[in-house]
Symmetry: C2
Subunit: 399 residues, 2 copies
C-alpha cells in the first residue's frame, strides 16, 4: 500500500509555495513586472562566467570516463583536497581531504551530518527563527528538532532559553548563520557564548554535543564584514555548506560537510557519511559539478546586488515605521508586521501586489520575511506599493 505517512504530507502545501504560485498566476493577469514577489529564496543573479567556462572546459578537455565516472562516495579525492586547502587558508583550519564529505547541497549536508552524530530518540536544538525544512531534515532521521524561542531584540541567541533546552538526550545544536529568514549573522561574541555553554553541557551530560553549522549564506554578508566561522569556536563542529547561493546554482545540488579535525572521531565521520548515503540513495553528488566548484573555489556570482537591495528596503521600511533588525547578510529581511497577526498583514499586502511571507512557519509569529533576491529595479518600484499599502491599511503608523 502507498505510505499513509507521505500521502498525508501532500496536504501540507507550504505557504511559501502557495504564495509563489499566487504570484505567478497574478503575474499572468497583470504582467509579472507588476507583481512584487518577495516569496522565494531563489538566487537573482546568474552563475559566474568562470563556472560556466570551467564546465565547458571539463566537457571538452577531460577524459569522459574519468569526468563522468563514479566518484568515491565521500567525493572525488582531489575535490576534497582542494576544499581542505581552501578552507584551511581562509579560516585557519587544519582540514585534510578525509575531513570533507561532498554532498548534494546543504539539504544533503545536514541530512548526512545529523545522522552521523545522532541516533533515533535524540534531540537537536535549533533557534527561532529557523528554516522550516529543518523539521524534515532532523525529524526524519528519528531524532527530534527542539526549537529555542527567538531573541527578537537582535536575532542572536536567547541564551537563558538555550540553557533550559538541554536534556540528557541533546545530541546536537543546529545553527544557520547568516540566517534564513532573519538575515542576522552570529557575532563572535554570540559564538563564544554558544560554544562555552555547549562545552559545559558536554561535561554535564558526559557525552559529545555536536554543532551542526549550516552556512549556505556565508559569502553574502554586508557592510564589508566577514562571517565568523563557527568551527573556529567549537571543536565538535560539522560545517554544512552549499554553493546554491554563492554560485547561483541551486539546481545543481552541490555542497559539503567539513568535519573539524578537532572533533571527536573526526577521521571517521566523512567515511560514516558515505555509509549513511547508502541508505539515503545518494552515493555522491554529480562528478562534473564537484570538479567545477573545486576548480572555481573563491569565485562567486555578483552578489553585491543583495546588499544594494537590502539597504534600499531597510531604509524605506524603517522610514515607514517598521521595526527591523538590520540584516548582516543573506538575501532575506524579516521586519515586524504592523499588526500582531502577520498572516492578516501579508494578506493585505497581497492586495497591493506585494508578496510577503508570514514568518509564523519560521518560528517568528508577528514577523514577515522578504526574499529580496530580485532585480534592484523591481525593488525600487515596489517602494511606492509599500507606501500605498501602509498608508491605506495602517494610516496611524506613519510619521
Amino acid at each position: 500500500m502507498v505510505s499513509e505517512d507521505y500521502k498525508a504530507m501532500l496536504q501540507g502545501k507550504s505557504i511559501i509555495r502557495q504564495l509563489a504560485e499566487y504570484a505567478t498566476a497574478r503575474g499572468a493577469e497583470i504582467g509579472y513586472e507588476n507583481v512584487f514577489d518577495y516569496s522565494l529564496g531563489n538566487p537573482g543573479v546568474p552563475a559566474p562566467q568562470a563556472f560556466t567556462d570551467e564546465m565547458i572546459r571539463l566537457l571538452k578537455e577531460e577524459d569522459p570516463m574519468k569526468l563522468h565516472g563514479y566518484s568515491q562516495s565521500q567525493g572525488i579525492p582531489e575535490v576534497r583536497q582542494k576544499h581542505a586547502d581552501y578552507l584551511n587558508k581562509r579560516f585557519g583550519m587544519n582540514y585534510t581531504a578525509e575531513h570533507l564529505f561532498m554532498t548534494t547541497g546543504a539539504a544533503g549536508a545536514v541530512a548526512h551530518a545529523a545522522r552521523a552524530v545522532t541516533k533515533p530518540g535524540d534531540e537537536v536544538i535549533t533557534f527561532a527563527p529557523f528554516f522550516p525544512e529543518y523539521i524534515q531534515y532532523i525529524n526524519r532521521t528519528g531524532a527530534k528538532l527542539k526549537i529555542v524561542q527567538a531573541d527578537t531584540e537582535n536575532f542572536q541567541i536567547d541564551f537563558d532559553a538555550f540553557r533550559s533546552a538541554f536534556t540528557d538526550k541533546t545530541a546536537a545544536v543546529l545553527i544557520n548563520t547568516p540566517n534564513n529568514p532573519s538575515g542576522a549573522m552570529y557575532s563572535e561574541e554570540t559564538l563564544k557564548t554558544l560554544s562555552g555553554i555547549m562545552r559545559k553541557m558536554q561535561d554535564k551530560y558526559d557525552h559529545e554535543i555536536f554543532l551542526l553549522s549550516d552556512e549556505p549564506y556565508r559569502e553574502i554578508v554586508f557592510d564589508g564584514k566577514t562571517c565568523p566561522y563557527p568551527a573556529k569556536f567549537y571543536e565538535n563542529t560539522l560545517t554544512c555548506y552549499s554553493y546554491s547561493k554563492s554560485l547561483s546554482v541551486p539546481g545543481e545540488r552541490i555542497g559539503y560537510v567539513a568535519i573539524n579535525p578537532e572533533a571527536k572521531d573526526a577521521d571517521l565521520i566523512s567515511a560514516m557519511c558515505a555509509q549513511i548515503s547508502r541508505g539515503l540513495g545518494h552515493n555522491c553528488p554529480p562528478s562534473i559539478i564537484q570538479l567545477a566548484v573545486a576548480n572555481t573555489l573563491g569565485v562567486t556570482s555578483d552578489i553585491s546586488v543583495y546588499e544594494t537591495n537590502m539597504n534600499t528596503l531597510y531604509d524605506e521600511l524603517t522610514g515607514l515605521g517598521f521595526k527591523i533588525v538590520r540584516p548582516g547578510g543573506t538575501f532575506y529581511i524579516m521586519p515586524k508586521a504592523l499588526e500582531d497577526d502577520s498572516v492578516s498583514f501579508c494578506n493585505k499586502a497581497k492586495e497591493h501586489d506585494l508578496i510577503l511571507v508570514p514568518a509564523d512557519g519560521f518560528g517568528a509569529p508577528g514577523y514577515f520575511r522578504m526574499a529580496y533576491c530580485i532585480e534592484t529595479e523591481k525593488v525600487n518600484r515596489s517602494l511606492e506599493a509599500f507606501r500605498r499599502f501602509v498608508n491605506e491599511c495602517y494610516p496611524g503608523r506613519r510619521d
Copy 2:
C-alpha cells in the same frame, strides 16, 4: 555522540571494494595491463558525444538562471514530459509528466520508490542472486528485505519459494532485470507468472503489493532481443531507472521513477516522492544533467562491446568446463566456481591475476561474478590466464 550504528558499518568493507583495491595495488606492481580486473561494474565505454555536445550547448545557449535554477522537487516539468512521451512510444504506456519522478540514479530511485509504498515493519521480497546494496536501500527505510533463494537452473524465479515468501506484511517485490550479478533477463513468461502470483497475493492479503522494477541495464541486452518491460505485465509497478550504464555517466547521478498510470494512487506517488526527498536531503537531481538526458533520449554509449566480451568469455569458460547460464544482458556473467567454496576459488584466481568476485554476497554461494565492462583486448588476453589457472588448480576439470 557519533552514531555507533554507522560507525560499526565502517568495519564491513565490501569484498568488491577490497578486490578492486587489491587490483589497483597489484597493477602498480606488475603493470595494470597485466591485472585482469573483473571486479567493478564501472562502464567501460565513454559517454556518447551527443551527451557531451548537449551539455556544452546547454551551457552556451541557455539562460544560466533557468539552467542552474531549482527544479521542482519532482524534476523539471519538460524533462518529465519528454520522459513520459519517450516511454509511452517505446513501451506502449500512458505516462504523463505527473507519473515521473527524477532521481539521483537508480539508488535514489529505489530509495524513494521503496519509501512510497512501504512502512516500517513491512517486508520487501527480492530474488537471489541480487545486488547487495538492496539490503541498505530497503532495510534503511525501516522495512525488511527478504531474499528468495535462486533458481540456479536459469536464474529466472523459483516460484514455489516465491509463493512461500509472502506474509501479511509483504508490501513490495523488488526485481532487477537484466540482473546484476547473473546477467539473466526475465522472460515474458517469467513476468507473467510473477504478476499472476502477485495479483493473487494482493487478493489474499487484501492490500496492494507493489512491484519495484530496477532496470539500469535495460538497454544492454544481447542476441538482438529487447528486455520485456515489467510494468506492461503488472499494474502496481514503479519502474526505477538509471542512465549510469546506458550513457556511461555513473558519477552524474541521474535516473527516474516511472509510476504505472494503472497503479493505485498513481497520480500521487511522484508528488509523495518529492515529500520523501525532504527527509533524505535530495531535493532534485542536478538540473543540467536532467536536461541533458531528456534532450538525448534514446541515445546510448557504444554498448555493443559488452556483447562481444560476453560471447568471448561465455565460449571460453564453457569450453574450460564452467557451468554458466548465458547472460541475456548487462555486463556481468556469473559462472559456477570449480569448487564449492567460491571464496577459495577466487583467491586462487587472484594468484593468476584474475580478479573475480565470489558471489556469496550476492546470495549465490558457489558462484562468482565477472564484470566484463573492460577493454575487449584485455578480455582476450585474460583467456590465457584463465586456461593456466584452471589447468594448474583444477587439472581434472578440463576435457
